[in-house]
Amino acid sequence: MNLILFTFIVLLGFTSYYFGRKKAYTIQSTKKRLTALPQFYGYYLAIWCAIPAFIIFSLWAIFEPTIVKLLILSDYLNQGYLDDELNLIYEKTKALSRGQFTGEITPFIKASAEKYLSLRSIAQSSKVVIVLSAIIASVAYAYKKISSNSRTREPVEKFLNAVLFTASLAAILTTVGIVFSLIFQTIDFFKVIPLFDFVFGTHWYPAKAFVRDSSEALDPTMYSDTFGAVPIFAGTFFIAFIAMCVAIPIGLMSGIYLAEYASYKVRQYAKPLIEILAGIPTVVYGFFAALTVGPFLKELGTSMGLEVSAESALAAGGVMGIMIIPFISSLSDDVITSVPQSLRDGSYAMGATKSETIKRVIFPAALPGIVGSILLGVSRAIGETMIVVMASGLAANLTLNPLESTSTITAQIVVILIGDQAFGDPKTQAAFALGMSLFLVTLCLNIVALKVVKKYREKYE
């Protein structure tokens, strides 16, 4: 139904465009000067057709369900029902009207369901009537405006400008959405678990929260030793550290080599090949780490008499490091190439060799940019999920032994939220609290890194 109405309105829009343009031609034929190109007359009319339709559609989508619900539940008011029970009645009514209700059908519910259906059909037909009459009114108004040959280009362009501006708000809206989705759950979480316990507690065992009998009231003391995030934070930074131990030397050296030594041909082939590493989906790295690297390290360890877990921090961190190589190598390559040639020439003129120039002149000059690229790499390592979920353990051990398994923020979020979630459960809220800390940490890293890189660019450009 809505789809038909929508198509009809789109068709109306096209027709009004056509009539607007035609009107412009008739005005032209009376030897009057047009105020804009003929198609602007058409756009003007089409916009006046679209705006009321859009407004009414969105108002309807927002208010219709609430109003229908109020009307249905007005029958049950003052009969001593609680809010939750009223909600349940409404859900039952809706399910019955869709024919998906399984359970005992009381006459009350049946009556409500009939009422619901009739209300819906009234709402639907009144929507059609209101939308169409609003469109006709506004198009008639706009048509009169065109007939008197008033300005059309300026309003059309103003409208387009407004559309462009709204689109640019999408980025802000996304950020707001992220904060919004995280913050409420996080606040609820900290109502049950004190912030201090979360930040300084050393036992992370969310499965314990799951065993709770849901009929009992929440007892905060039960969770006293359940949500201590220290092992998680430690594991996250530890794995990120291992990853950076692999990524920084290889990434930085390849960046330097590509920028300073490599011939045009080598650069042309090696650079895109290394960047393929960044394009491989992380789940593929995870599979590789879990199936090849993990068992290999375990075997290697056993042959040397070491106790190595098949899901070790080393396997996850090492493979993550490989993934981050291209981020560091291409960013530092860019940064090094933008160091002005005069610095190199000066150093060569003093008799320095190439490597001395790089180490003593170019590297210090490029350092801010390189630090920025490393920080971006760290932020990537901290936020990386699939490799850790698949290759590192899921139990949170507080350890600094790279051969044991550890867990990270991201892995715990996945472990908690995979499958069905119950909102309002401290366990689910814990995942959002972890997400919040992840967001804040990466946000700080990103802001600092981007600032540093930007400052550096401005210095040499």
């Binding site: 995280l182 050296m253 090949l273 989906p281 593929v284 990103n446």
Partner: protein
């Protein structure tokens, strides 16, 4: 004195060579990882494109199938195939006792009944006759035939019994085992049985998610880029938008999953596990990538184009829409494709919004529950059965194939259509 100088120089040249070597070995290491990686995936995955069939003589006994004389098509549809299927497997070894008959049955997939039924539906005249039918081998025998199965393990540690192996070897010796191209890998939905599992459901899920993502992210991102690059005044607010975009590009993908869960599912009550929600989540993630690419290519259009249009009396909006934006399109499109390729490989946010559910139907619309290719990789990688290992690698090969094609396409668009301004 002079000698000392020469020694010093020698040392410095040595250091120079060493440094150069470090650089070369770093590049070599990175490329070595890449080669090893691709080699590993291909060497484990290529065998999944072959499927092992057992050729078993089946007697279409009307009595066992409970079929009347001259049955109609409907009768054939409804007939009982279990008994003749069982009998034809049991007949592989005429001396088999009951346990062994059970083991014989487990040599083929549980789909064998249906395969026999299809054979008869294709040719109803087979009733009462015997024909050799291709039956899908069980995943363990499939692995045995491909040589991936450790046959020398003690029997109690294998899922294939010695008896099954004996019969299987006889069949191989008689040429009754055949390996053919595995079409069902591409046409079947996911399954708990490795020999039947295919990527059709997750593939469609990926396609739907990417389409939803494209339909939302592309228009919004292009419009936003046009505003920021061509119309936005330079002030605090536009700076704030810019910082926001750059930050969003570096926010971990799992946070977008939390956004999808907390806002799209919990507040807007959109259906769980569907490509619709997945696509919206991915579109928020790709938005900054496309905006950044579109802005860069708008910036690359030289000011002279704008000035010429303005000089001819075009308004700013006309200049932008008729000249700048069309000229920037190749760059924008290739940026969009690269953004979509990233979205196609994304797993974590989709797991959070429930696209990991086991789906054994092929979704027909973005509103049906589905998985996606990377999530399918995750699901299969987590299952213990040996047969899934090669499936995972094969699925990775398909996914990588798509990503490479998309990236090549982006390159081609960029090189073919982008105007070089000099």
């Amino acid at each position: 004195m002079n000698k000392n100088k020469e020694q010093l120089l020698k040392k410095r040249y040595k250091a120079e060579q060493r440094f150069r070597l470090y650089g070369q070995s770093a590049i070599f290491m990175a490329l070595l990882f890449l080669t090893f990686f691709i080699f590993k995936i291909f060497s484990t995955g290529h065998s999944a494109f072959q499927k092992t069939w057992l050729i078993v003589p089946v007697t279409f006994d009307a009595e066992l199938m409970m079929l009347e004389q001259n049955p109609s098509n409907v009768d054939i549809q409804d007939a009982d195939y279990y008994d003749i299927a069982l009998k034809s497997m049991a007949d592989l070894d005429l001396n088999a006792n009951e346990d062994q008959e059970n083991e014989l049955k487990r040599m083929v997939s549980y789909f064998f009944e249906k395969e026999i039924k299809n054979e008869l539906l294709n040719d109803p005249s087979l009733i009462g006759k015997t024909k050799e039918v291709y039956l899908t081998a069980s995943d363990d025998l499939d692995q045995v035939f491909k040589g991936n199965y450790p046959r020398d393990l003690p029997e109690d540690q294998r899922r294939v019994s010695d008896y099954q192996l004996k019969i299987f070897d006889q069949l191989v010796a008689n040429g009754k085992v055949e390996s053919k191209f595995n079409i069902s890998f591409f046409t079947n939905p996911d399954s708990r049985e490795a020999e039947l599992a295919g990527i059709a459901s997750s593939f469609m899920g990926s396609i739907f998610s990417i389409l939803v993502c494209l339909m939302i992210a592309f228009p919004v991102a292009v419009l936003a880029a046009i505003y920021l690059e061509e119309f936005a005044p330079k002030n605090r607010f536009t700076d704030f938008i810019e910082v926001n975009i750059n930050n969003l590009a570096a926010v971990p993908s799992i946070v977008f999953g939390l956004l999808g869960l907390g806002v799209l599912l919990a507040i807007f009550q959109l259906p769980r596990s569907t490509p619709l929600v997945g696509g919206i989540t991915l579109s928020l993630m790709t938005l900054p990538t496309i905006i950044i690419a579109a802005r860069a290519s708008l910036k690359a259009v030289p000011p002279s184009i704008r000035e010429a249009a303005l000089a001819m009396g075009a308004s700013r909006m006309q200049t932008t829409m008729h000249h700048t934006v069309p000229l920037s399109m190749p760059g924008t499109l290739s940026g969009t494709i690269i953004g979509l390729a990233q979205a196609l490989g994304e797993t974590a946010p989709l797991i959070l919004i429930g696209m990991v559910a086991f789906v054994n139907t092929i979704p027909g619309s973005p509103m049906d529950p589905a998985a996606s290719l990377p999530v399918q990789i995750y699901i299969w990688a987590e299952s213990a059965e040996r047969g899934f290992v090669e499936k995972v690698s094969a699925c990775i090969m398909v996914l990588l194939g798509f990503l490479i094609t998309m990236n090549l396409f982006a390159q081609i668009i960029r090189h073919k259509f982008e105007k070089k301004w000099s």
